[in-house]
């Protein structure tokens, strides 16, 4: 199987402080990979690096798909939910690659949008403005947008935070569908039960990679304990990392 993503001695961070430190490895096409670790472990940073929003401090990320062929769901904060836009219009943005700046939304596209809205269980909500949605409904709408993006590589940053079990299981079903379609999915998660049950492969990150492999081997108590210990605050007086000289 071909690698979709390869990390070569990758260090990502802010103001020269590493948040992901010396990560090596690759993600194969069709992988369903959970990225876990304590808060501040560099999980979101890693996703930002993959989409190209953050330039590596050292090392490199090799990406097979182009940057704009990645579907990326960040943690929800950046969306302005008071903006007067309907669920239908929000979801339709997933067609950007297809319709671009000026391409029209015709009958065919309209059908695709309605289909995606139905898949995530939001039929009847098409004309509602996004400000009227609950947290779970909003996340469903964003998954509908991801569906339309039709990307080979899908990155999800804590997609299930504060969602009820039914919404989580509906959205997990969509992730499983992507997996069946041989798409590559990386998800940052905190619920180890979900990881155990649904994700065959896991990367445990605590700024430095603690373990990466089949989920049941990674989710060992000693690994988790190590991860918790390794994740400390930035040291303002840290010296230049020695490994770079080697």
């Amino acid at each position: 199987m071909a690698a979709v993503l390869s990390f070569r001695n990758l260090t990502l961070g802010y103001d020269r402080h590493p948040a992901v430190h010396h990560l090596d490895g690759s993600v194969n096409e069709g992988a369903l990979l959970a990225v876990i670790g304590p808060n501040g472990a560099g999980k979101s940073t890693l996703l930002k690096g993959i989409v190209g929003a953050l330039t590596p401090l050292a090392g490199a990320i090799e990406r097979k798909p182009l940057a704009h062929d990645i579907a990326y769901l960040p943690q929800i904060a950046e969306i302005d939910r008071s903006f007067p836009i309907s669920v239908y219009d929000l979801v339709s943005m997933g067609l950007w690659r297809r319709s671009g700046l000026l391409g029209g939304i015709g009958q065919k596209e309209s059908d695709l949008i309605r289909q995606a809205v139905a898949t995530v269980g939001l039929q009847g909500f098409e004309d509602r403005t996004i400000g009227t949605l609950s947290g779970g409904q909003m996340q469903r709408a964003l998954f509908a947008r991801l569906l339309l993006q039709d990307a080979r590589l899908i990155l999800l940053d804590e997609p299930f935070v504060s969602l009820d079990t039914r919404t989580v299981s509906d959205l997990l079903e969509i992730i499983a569908r992507w997996h069946r379609e041989q798409r590559t999915v990386l998800a940052v998660l905190h619920d180890n039960e979900i990881v155990k049950e649904k994700f065959p492969e896991t990367l445990l990150l605590a700024r430095e990679p603690v373990a990466w492999g089949p989920t049941r081997e990674v989710l060992h108590a000693e690994n988790l304990l190590r991860a918790r210990r390794m994740c400390e605050a930035f040291d303002d007086h840290a010296v230049v990392c020695k490994d770079d000289a080697a």
Binding site: A53, P84, I85, M93, W96, L101, L102
Partner: protein
């Protein structure tokens, strides 16, 4: 019937300067309405005011260099000063941690101080009242053509950039992940703000021009929950304010610029009180709750 005609239509039929003012207001409303709505939705309602201050020195400099009220020199001066400030602020906001409001404040204050310095060093006792308060009742052909050109450019640019502009407002992170259109869209929008303010200062003056941009936009917020409708309502309210303000000024002899903006202000207060979407009526007279 004839009194109604005299009050509302007669002045425009009788006087050419009123017809010119009407055309000028139509041009301004078409551009300023939608631009104002986007400014409001980006939470940058006060940006128009800051930009107006940034434009003022450019227009004053144009006035000085041309040695009088030259349409070309003052428009060019305003546009150049405005673009410089808008681009500088936009680029700094995108490239650094400083937010857009702070970077804009920094740039417009530099521009304003520079303008005041130049004007006072030159020491000429110039009549800048035109720049401050405009002259909607004395629009000549060239000025009207300028206003119409600005409105045309605004509508075309908005039509092309509508999709990325909406996306840049709702979910800038998503736009970055699918396209590189974010930064050019952002800067083009700032350029539109400048263009419409420069157009507005010929008719209403730099400070009043902001009023025609923001008051109809803020009023439209109370009538529609949907962006397209909001933009259309803002344009109509701007136009209606223009017409009513001109008539008010015609009949009472009050200065036209402030009259237009005051009427826009009345529309805003009316919308605030009675508008169906998220206004005061909704808050104080919510009606009984529904079944589901």
């Amino acid at each position: 019937m004839s009194t109604l005609y005299d009050a509302l239509i007669g002045p425009f039929v009788e006087f050419e300067f009123m017809r010119r003012a009407l055309v000028g207001m139509l041009a301004l409303a078409l551009g300023a309405g939608p631009v104002g709505v986007f400014l409001m939705l980006r939470r940058m309602s006060l940006m128009g005011d800051a930009m107006a201050h940034a434009i003022l020195p450019g227009a004053a400099l144009g006035f000085l260099l041309a040695g009088g009220l030259s349409l070309f020199a003052m428009t060019a001066g305003g546009v150049i000063a405005g673009f410089t400030v808008a681009m500088g602020a936009g680029l700094v906001a995108r490239a650094t941690d400083l937010k857009e409001d702070a970077s804009l404040a920094a740039f417009y204050l530099i521009s304003l101080a520079l303008g005041v310095l130049i004007v006072s060093v030159k020491g000429s006792n110039i009549d800048l009242l035109h720049v401050l308060f405009g002259s909607v009742l004395a629009l000549d052909n060239a000025t009207l053509m300028t206003l119409a050109a600005f409105a045309t450019v605004s509508l075309f640019v908005l039509a092309i950039l509508w999709r990325p502009l909406v996306l840049e407002c709702v979910d800038p992170g998503f736009l970055r992940s699918v396209s590189n259109a974010g930064a050019p869209t952002h800067l083009a929008f700032l350029a539109l703000v400048v263009l419409n303010l420069v157009g507005g200062f010929h008719a209403l003056g730099t400070l009043m021009a902001v009023g025609l941009m923001m008051l109809p936009a803020a009023a439209a917020r109370f009538w529609a929950a949907d962006l397209t409708r909001m933009v259309i309502i803002a344009i109509l309210l701007a136009l209606l304010s223009g017409v009513s303000g001109l008539l008010l000024s015609y009949h009472t002899g009050a200065p036209s610029g402030p009259s237009i903006i005051l009427v826009a202000g009345l529309f805003y207060l009316f919308s605030l009180a009675l508008g169906p979407v998220g206004g005061l009526r909704r808050k104080f007279v919510p009606g009984r709750h529904l079944e589901a």
